[in-house]
Subunit: 370 residues, 4 copies
């Protein structure tokens, strides 16, 4: 079954595996007239790229994007935008002993059950490298919704039991990029960095929480009842590898409250409808309210660790030990940040067109001018 | 934009509003040959129906389903199954004063922004009554996946700060139906009931957490990378009204752990691959692993409360107070239980066909017998 | 597999069979604010209804539509519009002897192979009654595109070897309704009527050609390269029962020409781009050109005839004779007219939203007013 | 709007323009375990390639395909297969004078209206080169359905007023490849070749008809009522550039007949249900019958001709003459042959999975083995 596309109108299809020739994305449904260059995409890929700090895997990939179609004279022309990144630093040898022994916590076993013939090298298409496609799609989405003043930023708000203090939503993007953890609270960032390096030292890895914030989203995005904005954000975020939970607004804390405590009350400010609080995270009845959209995702510790673990040899059908000696991230949260932004940006771009805020074929057009 | 359908192959489209003539669902893509009766659907609707205990709204609806198509001689015939429920006890008068004043925490404001001309009565299609469509679709889905031994049960595991003890997964369904809270832990159920009645007494409402468990799901369901099983479950669950968070398996707790603590290790039991723990909630790499699927959702307190709140008159564009005197549930969790089961069952039915476990047109056929 | 929906944004799902309780349609994605009543739909259903002349089957169905949802205060409210028609004059006895003997030229055999358990009565969902769903969807589509001045009319242009003379495109709708054949050329209509009655007299049936014309369609509709306007029109028209060919513009005659003879040349008229001829039928490169859209469909003679034919008993797996004594149309073309209009109107409504000419959620809105 | 994908389960997305860096396709939903090499695709591309005879444009493209993903150890692995072809012999200069003057019979004008910013060079994505994507997708589809014995062959049956004699369906593929016209009747082929060269000599072009035949298709493919096999074939074929008509089986000739003359009667042969004739072209009620599937398409003369024509300068909004001096095919029919095969093969591959004949994820699996 085809599952490698996302979005209804702004539709992104991705392809490629960890150790194959290339990875990439085709963005179909981006209206014509949007200024777009390879640099716009490269900037986001560089944020996702491995090897940029001691907190990430040392796999030495430059991840240079090449655009194959969809751009004419520096602008989108309404046809599909295809972007590819070639794999360079492929080290398949590390994976030869894993061919029939699935790594605990990874999709090796389930992919093999599903597809039979499965490219196990580097996790194949189950690898985190697959998010290169997400980031290419997200970079185009960011550019598109940026024309309407929408900004999407993510940051790491928890690593292990270390929690960041809250930061003004408008500063998250800038502050988070100042440290390798991508935590907007500098004091917490230092503690988080230490926790991650400790885990690395032990041959282990550690989990965390990433928050995504979208500012400037107009009221009125979301198709009830099965394509609500929160439902599609949840799918986009839960679908990122290693994510085990998604919250919108106050999230699980709502369970402990009475409505009288957490209902967001309406008021008028400068002729606009606002709410006094934003426990709903900018989404009411599945439709954006015009308040900031906030979501948090739980990211599990990278399952690839060098400590000895128990597994099963699927050929021999016998239990066996496993030690994993590839190159892995001791905490994947910092690199989830640009991927989570991309996931949210793609959903918003799709809904901005679906809700009629962006013209479906030509961004310079208003409706009915045709 | 069309947003009232869910599923790719087992596809459910719903319609209807709180105060219109009828609500219903069309199930397209259910294979032929499945035994199905109105009673199969009625049983699930009765679990969702209001007025069955002091914990629910007294709106007196019998919610009788009528099947209009798709059944021949007691079995599905491969054509769309349409089921409808007529609204009877409509009390639109309570809503006349709400026409231009959106209720805090509800979708009134956002639906109005989106659609302009909006049926505000009883929340229109933003009402909880819309889940009648979910339950009709879910009842057919349950019947279909039941032919392969899959069972989906939900129960309330938290109300306010009261948390239930864990119960053997196989007993959840039976135990939860023994009390009006639908909590499988009877001691916690009594405390929860009191907390709900206390909230009702105060004209307030209270939130909670519902857990859904699917047993008997084979390994191999889920289409990576954008239609993963966990991503689609997250969308289905987050899309239920009042839900603000979704967790799979260990959920947000993974953030506090090292991989060495929570990686599920593989072993062999009776010739089957199992894992020693199930922190992944039965899904690895977006594909089911054969272990039980577990998900939890955060349910906010019903936003309709009789206590005075602040809002805005959208016609006058001035701030105003609001008091809501309809009939509402002081805690919606017990009635979310059958809806959450329906949501999960529809996703599983769709994936069982998509993954080739159930023949797409004729349940009596094996592939290639054609 | 789900196949009972059509359209991407203006999306129509239909259900129901010839001898089941009811047939109907759910229209999802119609924007809010469109004036719509049961009469708008009934008018079109009455044109499709049997028993209105000696040329049609005498099955006595009134085909009254009931709208169950989606209308509030006389206008659409952006939620799904469900309309149903109950079957009344069901005569299943005529079909009992056909249970295991497929009628030549019908889908009995293929539906049975596909679904195993198949409602053979009256052809089940393979019956022409299923176009009630098309007409309900088409009536809403016509109303929607009518707000932008688009009109869709069809007429019978050939029955057997009798061909109608060409008529001014603007008069087709009016002229065609003046005779039971629905042929806009009155002289040809008389000959066609005689040919149909002759066929009826012989216990036989006769084929024909129906032409559909859409006036007022703006330039710019159609999504290349796989969702072109002509491709989607072809699917919609070929999908009508009994249709074996579809032509756009000049159709098969283009094969006999040189480009210099049939290329439509551009000129300017009143500030608008027009073409001197319209061999392309209003579609160039899969996108509407602003010229009238013209399509023709080949309709085979109704396969149900009372003359003796050869078939096979599928239970006994032996050859046998078959005589069909139900109530059938000696030429289905007149009743295909409203169905073909509906099919084209649904495609145009979908594309008008997809191309940004009609706002996706609120017809009173221009883009970016949100 | 996204329109560059086709198929529901076997889903092909294409990209690229005539004068951009590359063209290509991503095939998502091809099950794992299918033997596939670049040669399988190259063979089909070579049949579509220009410059192979005096009947085709001399544009000198080798059209070498590179597979970027989806193949592991010589077999598909269930992940998307991306194939690209780089443009080499780009001659954009010929098109500079066409920037604001749309070519009659081409999509230049309509693409410009739709997208505003439009890559006019070589027709952009409206160019016939775009069918490279179709052929890549079709080559994979052919390989997949070939594992079940299905063969798809096309041939030219008419050029201008020259019609080919009928040929045994099994020999079409072999015979058609013996001459540059791709007509299986060698006598007609010689006349057709002369007619094409005459048109070329005059600076003109000529139309024709291509027939596609699929052998070995099992009974039971097709999803009624809106995704019928004939409806989806019609869309796939009408969507090929220059096609203005599609017929299934007897096509438009059915209009002239009585049912008693053309109903296909059933009989039994070797335990299989067959029909004595095949006027229905292998499809009854929208579902395949097990008889050969036959379709014909009307192909208009290539609109690019060097003879002077009238057009309009869209910048100046004034009428003007146009002469086209690029490199063009005097009759596109021979090169439509592999494209039509590809279009049909993609539809069949999709339906073979949708109908349960091919396992959706692993071709070595039978259903329920999971």
């Amino acid at each position: 079954m085809a599952g490698n596309s996302t979005g209804k109108v702004f539709r992104v299809t991705t392809f490629g595996s960890s150790h194959g020739p290339a990875l990439g994305a085709v963005i179909d449904g981006c209206p014509a007239g949007l200024k777009l260059s390879e640099e716009d995409i490269q900037r986001e890929l560089d944020r996702r790229r491995p090897g940029t700090s001691s907190l990430t895997t040392p796999r030495g990939e430059m991840d240079r994007v090449e655009i194959l179609s969809g751009i004419f004279e520096g602008k989108t022309d309404g046809t599909p935008i295809a972007g590819i990144v070639r794999n360079r630093d492929v080290d398949s040898a590390s994976y030869s002993n894993l061919k029939s022994v699935p790594r605990p916590g990874h999709g090796d076993y389930t992919w093999r059950v599903r597809f039979g013939h499965y490219d196990h090298r580097g996790g194949g298409r189950g690898s985190g490298r697959v998010t290169i496609g997400h980031v290419i799609g997200g970079a185009v989405a960011k550019k598109l919704i940026g024309t309407h003043g929408i900004q999407v930023n993510a940051h790491v708000v928890q690593v292990g039991d270390i929690r960041a203090d809250r930061v003004n939503l408008k500063l998250i993007g800038e502050y988070a990029e100042r440290n390798p953890v991508r935590c907007a609270d500098p004091a917490a960032a230092r503690l988080m960095e230490k926790a991650i390096l400790d885990a690395k030292e032990m041959g282990d890895s550690i989990g965390g929480v990433v928050e995504v914030v979208a500012l400037g989203v107009p009221a009125g995005l979301g198709d009830p009842v099965f394509s609500k904005l929160d439902a599609e954000l949840a799918a986009a975020l839960m679908g990122i590898g290693a994510v085990k939970g998604v919250e919108i607004g106050m999230g699980f804390e709502v369970a402990e409250h009475h409505a009288s405590e957490i209902n967001d009350e309406f008021y008028i400010s400068g002729g606009e409808i606002r709410t006094t609080t934003n426990t709903s995270g900018g989404i009411l009845g599945g439709i954006s309210s015009g308040m900031p959209i906030t979501a948090r995702i739980a990211v599990k510790p990278t399952p690839s660790i060098s400590l000895p673990q128990r597994s099963v040899d699927l050929e021999m059908m016998e239990e066996t030990g496993i030690e994993i000696h590839g190159r892995h991230d001791p905490c994947i949260c910092p690199r989830v940040v640009p991927v989570a932004e991309a996931a949210v940006a793609m959903v918003l771009a799709d809904h901005m067109i679906r809700a009629g805020f962006i013209h479906p074929t030509d961004i310079s057009k208003k409706e009915n001018d045709g």
